[in-house]
């Protein structure tokens, strides 16, 4: 039957990938010393919509450095393709979009070049939190930050008003609001704890001051089960156990319906949330408001990130200098930043982004200070270092927290962190990484 050979699919796919990449040759031209008049063509793998239009502006002004956009399906498939090309020794592009949490994995596979010598003082143009995503806490630069996803809080202002609530300033306020709203209408929840979205939980841990991985001398440190993350897990577990917070995953038909019919009346999300709400909660347009994140310590506001990516130069590129010139322009030049925001609909990571983002997004048309809040948030990003096996930690998160959310026990939430920590460390040790502790 059609499923007969399914167990071999993994192998077949792998084999097919090898064949494909081995056949496709690199588009970068032949080697040579850097000569200002030399014409080079660079390939750029990205999945950001309309990136070709942004690149067209560069190509028009730089006849000697022509960039061709090669549209990718998304973060995961592009990473798989790049890793295969690196293994095969050819076929990688010159420039690659890399999500922050994938950067260590790619660096560890020797796919991304260290361009710290070429970028000079570019670091000053970015918030420290965003730059740590490409430096991995060292002096290296494995790319230039492109966009960032600072966490923000979104809520139904009409529901808050009806319950006599203001936007929560602290997590205590948030918990009180969640309880009040659910008590007033048993169908309404201020949010949900989604075991599907490891990225959001990571951002919440980041806000609380966690940094799950780190480099200490020549070994990695893993701190998923630290005090800060424990605090976050027991906080959300407590809300779920009390029954004032929903426990269903996000991005399901059910969740979309709940946003639209007013039973999910808040969302801890990131700067890109308006796009999602526009699709899921059309009927509630005009009723939502954006606010800064609730804080653990209102006196020292911090935020985490959910999403965002860097632009990197690959180790196979023969024109690293020109490629670096291009990605520097793309991610820090005011003209490029405006194009990125208006055409590609991303929130640029550079400090200058606030000056080009003036109009609020369509879904929040009434909120003139939308990007002021976002700008403040991105400056408050806590530094966070990702490790070389984020994927392992994330899939451990999915399984452990799905069980905990289903059990609705705060204790299960904190125990899940121990499982995540153990799975992640075991995997690293098994692969041969030096892991401290």
């Amino acid at each position: 039957m059609k499923k007969k050979f399914a167990p071999l699919m993994a192998a077949v796919t792998a084999a097919a990938l090898f064949t494909v990449t081995a056949c496709s040759s690199s588009d970068s031209s032949e080697e040579g010393a850097v000569d200002p008049n030399e014409k080079v063509s660079l390939t750029y793998w990205t999945w950001t919509p309309n990136m070709d239009k942004v690149v067209a502006a560069w190509n028009a002004k730089n006849p000697n450095i022509q960039v061709t956009v090669n549209k990718q399906d998304g973060g995961d498939p592009a990473v798989t393709k790049l890793l295969t090309a690196v293994k095969a020794g050819s076929g990688a592009p010159d420039i690659m979009q890399a999500e922050y949490q994938k950067v260590p994995t790619l660096v560890s596979a020797d796919a991304l070049a260290d361009i710290s010598a070429e970028v000079g003082s570019l670091k000053d143009k970015f918030p420290a939190g965003a730059w740590s995503g490409v430096s991995l806490g060292s002096d290296a630069a494995y790319g230039v930050p492109q966009d960032s996803g600072p966490l923000m809080f979104f809520y139904r202002s009409d529901v808050f008003e009806k319950n006599g609530l203001a936007a929560p300033k602290t997590w205590d306020d948030y918990a009180a609001a969640a309880e009040k709203i659910h008590k007033a209408d048993a169908k309404q929840y201020l949010g949900t704890f989604s075991a599907n979205d490891a990225g959001l939980f990571t951002g919440l841990a980041q806000q609380a001051g966690a940094s799950w991985w780190g480099v200490n001398g020549d070994s990695w440190t893993v701190n998923i089960n630290d005090a800060a993350t424990q605090k976050v897990a027991s906080y959300w577990g407590g809300l779920v156990e009390k029954g004032v917070m929903d426990n269903k995953p996000m991005y399901t038909p059910e969740w979309n319906a709940a946003l639209n019919d007013g039973t999910q009346v808040g969302w801890v999300s990131a700067v890109w949330a308006p796009g999602v709400l526009d699709g899921s909660a059309k009927d509630t347009k005009g009723k939502w408001k954006a606010a800064p994140m609730p804080q653990w310590d209102a006196a020292a506001p911090k935020t985490g990130a959910w999403g965002g990516s860097a632009t990197s130069v690959t180790t196979q590129s023969k024109h690293k200098k020109q490629a670096t010139q291009f990605i520097t322009w793309l991610n820090s030049d005011p003209e490029a930043l405006k194009l990125l925001a208006d055409t590609a609909f991303i929130y640029p990571a550079a400090n200058d982004a606030t000056s080009v983002l003036t109009e609020p997004p369509a879904f929040f048309a009434d909120q003139a200070d939308y990007y002021t809040i976002a700008g403040e948030a991105s400056k408050q990003l806590s530094p966070f270092t990702y490790g070389p096996n984020v994927n392992v930690a994330y899939s451990a998160f999915n399984d452990a927290f799905a069980k905990a959310a289903e059990a609705k026990k705060a204790a299960a939430f904190t125990e899940s962190l121990a499982t995540m920590q153990k799975t992640t460390v075991d995997d690293m040790k098994n692969t041969g990484f030096n892991v401290a502790g």
Binding site: K3, T80, S108, T315, A405
Partner: protein, 323 residues
Amino acid sequence: MSLTSTAPRKTEAPPAGSPRRRKAKRAGTPYGFLAPAMILFAAFLAAPIFYAAYLSLRKVKVSGLGLGSKSRTEIWAGLDNYTRSLTDPEFLPSVGRVGAYGLIVVPTMLGLALMFALLLDANRTRESIGKFARISIFLPYAVPAVVASLLWGFLYLPRVSPINDIAEALGFAGPNLLSADLTLFAVANIAIWGGTGFNMIVIYTALKAVPTSLYESARIDGASEMAIAWRIKIPIVMPSLVMTFVFSLIATLQVFAEPMTLRPLANTISTTWTPLMKVYRDAFARNDIYAAAATSVIIALATFILSFGFLKLVGRRAFNQED
């Protein structure tokens, strides 16, 4: 059947006295005809199998921080991947889950398929109704498993499900089919819905091949329709039942698309819910194709042993009539 197929072959014996040399020249011809199939088989089936088996004995070793070039080497792992796979705390529960799933799916699906086939066969004269019923029962098989799972997913999710709307309108709480107790049944239901039609067609086709004279003589002997079904039809379609059972067994061991598609919708399906999902997670979420290859080989071996073991067990009895 066997008579008609072997009889003509005897008369086709090569004419006596054909020259030896021409025979030798022709010896290569069959290989020429076989070549395309053999090459495709080797390239797309045999090679990947051997490659998977090879990968299952390898692993990647990282040195130090694992950053920078040349810090990753592929080394010989021996049976390490197999030990890790078999001792993984998630592996045995996933096998148990698939076992329970098979106990629900296979008997229900084949029972329904047999029942529908017998019902359709019971009244051969009303061809138009039969044709309509046959197509409607078969249709779900034409729906890809992923699409079917999405469709059922909508029906399962309490908030968007019309089932729950109706239940609430009637005044009682609708079930949450994706809760911990019911998930297994929810997944099994999709497989039964999708697979019954195919198996029904196989059994029905076997029934159609039975000459009506058999039934006529049974009726003359005073057998009821029930007795005809039990004593004549079911024994005759036994080989088809055995075949559909083996297919279902293989499909059960490899259940993947349905739970994989439902997984993001609920907390109750883990990333290692079935052995094949574990393979997927290891290969694509954890970038560990070596562990994935080892688990694949284990699943392939288990499938092989179970299906051939079953065929050996029932084979002689089931195919008796054919010999």
